[in-house]
Each structure stands twice: as C-alpha cells, then as structure tokens.
C-alpha cells in the first residue's frame, strides 16, 4: 500500500514533534527519525525482512534542524515506497538522507534560530513596552507580549513542519532545489533587518528617555560599547556575563 493519507501524515507530524527525544552524540536524531517513519515502514513493507532492513537504514546517523525534518521524512517515505517496489533502490536512501539533512539544517538554522527566534523575541518585548506606554495594565502587557512571541514564532514553524511532509513526499529529492528557489536567504535578511531595527529602537530607548540624566546616558553608552566589543570577540552568554560581573565587582571594590 502506498501514498501518504491524511491520518498517516497527522501521525508522522505528531511524532515529528518528538524527533529530538532520543538525541545522542553517536547518531544524533536517528531514533526519533526512525520512530517518525515507523507507521510508514509498517505500511509499505509487509515482509518482516524488508521491515527490519528499513528500520536498520533509519537507525543510522541522521541530523537536521528539527523543523526541517518533515521534508526529509516525506522524501524518505517516498523512497521507502519505491524500495518496496524495487528493493535495489533502497541503497540510496541513506546517502540522500544525510545530504538532505545537512542542506536543510543550514537553511533551518539560519531561518529559525538565526533570524526568527531573536526577531520574534525583540518584537514581543516591543509589544509589551508599547502597551505599557499606552497605559495597559502590566499583566495585560506581559501576557500580550508572550502570546505575540509564541504565535509569531510557532505559526511559520508549525506550517513548515506540516507542509514539509507533503512537499518532501510530492517532490522527492527535488525538494532541496525547490526550497532554494523559494529565496529563503532573502526572507532571512528581511526578518533579521526588521528585528535589528526594533532592537536598535529598544536599545536607544533609555538614552532618549526624559527621566535620565547625562551621566546615566554616558554610562549606558559605555557599557553598551563594552558589551558589543565582547560580542564581536565571539563571547557567548555565560563568559560575557562573567566578565561583566568581575568588572562590576572590581569597580565596586575600588569604589569602597
């Protein structure tokens, strides 16, 4: 039996939400990926030997950006159907999965982790502060900003997860070329640009606030310059805060 029915797609989509539950350093998402495809494998391979071979194939190394995994699952399902008809075609499933996983990870990381997550976070903070400035109760501003963050991030993420399954199944290995035609890098640039503008406005907010004095503005600008310097040296959150903490303790000690 072949074809991705709506019930099968729903089941695979739900299992895809757990694709990283078995994440390990040796084979990364292999257990999660194999579990996603389990129903499909059982459907297309009635023979026990072919079923075991399919499980073995999908328990090999696999890793990609979790939201993009649907594309690979769709392609792998289609290839499993082909393998059920022509067993010799099973040989290319593993290499295709690896190649697609890497290509889609690059796209997904830059879109979701590098652009959408930070842009949605700063936009959500802007929503909260705007509502507060307009006189909304603090709880309403907070809840609105959290809902804004969750909705703006999850709407495209869930859509990509759901649509990825059908696109992967319909287009097969041509899905990567199709995704490249969608000009994702341009979308990433737009999202990052919008996020950067919002972050600029929020960062400059305290400088233009009427309630702060010139000395505060100088201190704020100096601290911001030091922090931007630390980030440009590639320091991550914990070491950067560690340096900030040590510097503050020294300033306080010298001051006393």
């Amino acid at each position: 039996m072949s074809g991705m029915t709506r019930a099968l797609k729903r089941r695979i989509f739900l299992r895809g939400l757990f694709i990283q539950s078995g994440w390990n350093f040796e084979r990364m998402q292999n257990v999660g990926f194999a579990w996603c495809l389990e129903s499909w494998i059982k459907r297309v391979h009635p023979d026990a030997g072919a079923r075991q071979a399919a499980y073995r194939r999908h328990l090999e190394f696999f890793n990609t950006q979790p939201y993009m995994a649907g594309f690979v699952v769709g392609v792998a399902g289609r290839l499993e159907e082909e393998a059920a008809r022509a067993p010799e075609s099973a040989k290319r499933i593993e290499s295709l999965k690896r190649a697609m996983g890497s290509a889609l990870a690059g796209l997904g990381d830059s879109l979701f982790w590098g652009a959408l997550k930070p842009a949605c976070a700063v936009a959500a903070m802007a929503v909260g502060w705007t509502l507060s400035a307009l006189g909304a109760p603090p709880a309403a501003s907070l809840v609105s900003s959290i809902l804004f963050y969750l909705v703006t991030f999850n709407a495209p993420a869930l859509w990509v997860r759901w649509r990825g399954l059908s696109l992967g199944y319909e287009l097969g290995e041509g899905v990567v070329a199709e995704l490249k035609r969608m000009q994702w890098q341009q979308k990433v640039r737009w999202i990052r640009g919008a996020g950067f503008l919002i972050a600029m406005v929020l960062t400059a907010g305290p400088i233009f606030s009427s309630s702060v004095g010139a000395s505060y503005v100088r201190l704020y600008a100096a601290a911001l310059a030091v922090c931007l310097g630390m980030k440009s040296f590639g320091l991550r959150s914990a070491p950067a805060y560690g340096i900030l903490l040590i510097g503050s303790l020294i300033i306080a000690w010298v001051g006393t």
């Binding site: 350093f25 257990v31 991030f153």
Partner: protein, 206 residues
C-alpha cells in the same frame, strides 16, 4: 518553610522540568524560553516582578546561544528557572544575586546534558540489538525514555541546587562584604546592556 521545601518547590520544579522538555526533546514551541517560563514561574511563586526582569534579561543574553548540532550552550531554561526559584520562597535572594547564580546553574546543567546525551546512545544501541535478535525495536518506548530521563534530570537538578544553594546564598548576601552586594547590583543593572548588545549582534546585517 517546610511547606516550601516539601510541596511548593517540588511542584515548581516539576513545572519547570516539563517546560524544559520543550528546549530540545519535545516540540520546540519556545515555551521553554526565559521570556515565557520565567514570568510564569515568577507568577506561580508570587514573585512576578522578579520573574519578568529575570526572564527579559536571560532571554536577551542567551539570544545568540544556538542549539546547533552537538553544541551545548548554557541551558537558558534551567538558568532562568533556577534564578526565579532562588529569588522566591522563604530564603528569597535579591534578583541581582539570583541572576548570576542562575547563569552558573544553567552552565552546570549543560554538563549534565552532555552526560544525558551520551547515555541516550544506549537507546540507539538497544534498538540495533533488538534488530540483531530478529525483533522490531520498540522505538516509542525509547523515545519516552529519552524525554523522561531529561525531565527527571532537570527536575532533580533544579530541586537539589535551589534547595541547597538558596539558604546559603541568602545568608551570604547579607553577611558578605558590601562591595560584593554593590558589584552584583551593578552587574545586574548593566546586564541589560549585554542583553541589547547580544540582540543587536544576533540580528546584525550580514
């Protein structure tokens, strides 16, 4: 105090541990991000203001810590949750002291996560062993074990560290030298600069 350690803190750790699953294991809907989790925990603990300030700062500071491949940055969820829990309860710390403690604990938990991820390779090997024995592996059970280990580890870690460190840090805050309090307060006040620098850097045009 007994009610806090015996009932409230364990319940809050369960909530935090369940939300922490969202960071890697289940969904990735962003409910584990500090901006969402910290205000919620703060509201549940009765320290909503601490939850909001910790949540916003931790969210900004960790914006460019990317969970890519085998990279193991600071666990922002555990960092935010422990900071909020330390700033609550009978030994409530000042957010200026709870925040760096949370960052340290988030960093420590990422080492626990490295162990967990190494241990999860056993699930993969068990699946292969089942196939070698001629049986189909029960992958659903392995998946459930994967996220159960993660939830138990983060819940136990949070409870143990917050219960042990809360009273010690609280006494240390008042008994320690004044310059430490001033330094911690200065670092907490300037953390927003680090947060905005991180946001600008993460979203800079390339």
């Amino acid at each position: 105090m007994i009610f806090w350690f015996a009932a409230e803190l364990p319940a809050l750790c369960v909530v935090a541990a369940l939300l922490e699953l969202d960071a890697t294991c289940v969904g990735q809907w962003m409910v584990s991000r500090p901006l969402v989790l910290a205000p919620l925990l703060g509201w549940l603990c009765g320290s909503a203001a601490a939850g909001v300030s910790v949540g916003i700062l931790m969210e900004l500071i960790t914006l460019d810590d990317l969970p890519v491949g085998s990279a193991m940055p600071l666990n922002a969820t555990v960092a935010a949750a422990s900071a909020v829990l330390l700033a609550s309860g009978p030994f409530a710390l000042e957010p200026a002291a709870a925040f760096p403690a949370g960052i340290a604990l988030g960093g420590a938990f990422s080492k626990v996560e490295v162990r967990l991820r190494s241990a999860r390779a056993r699930l993969s090997r068990s699946a292969e062993a089942a196939l070698n024995a001629g049986r189909l592996p029960k992958l659903g059970r392995f998946i459930a074990m994967g996220w159960t280990w993660q939830a138990v580890a983060s819940g136990v870690f949070l409870y143990a560290t917050v219960a042990a460190m809360g009273p010690i840090l609280s006494w240390g805050w008042y008994l320690g030298p004044a310059f430490v309090r001033q330094g911690l307060s200065l670092a907490f006040a300037s953390a927003q600069c680090l947060g905005w620098a991180t946001a600008l850097f993460a979203l800079r045009p390339r």
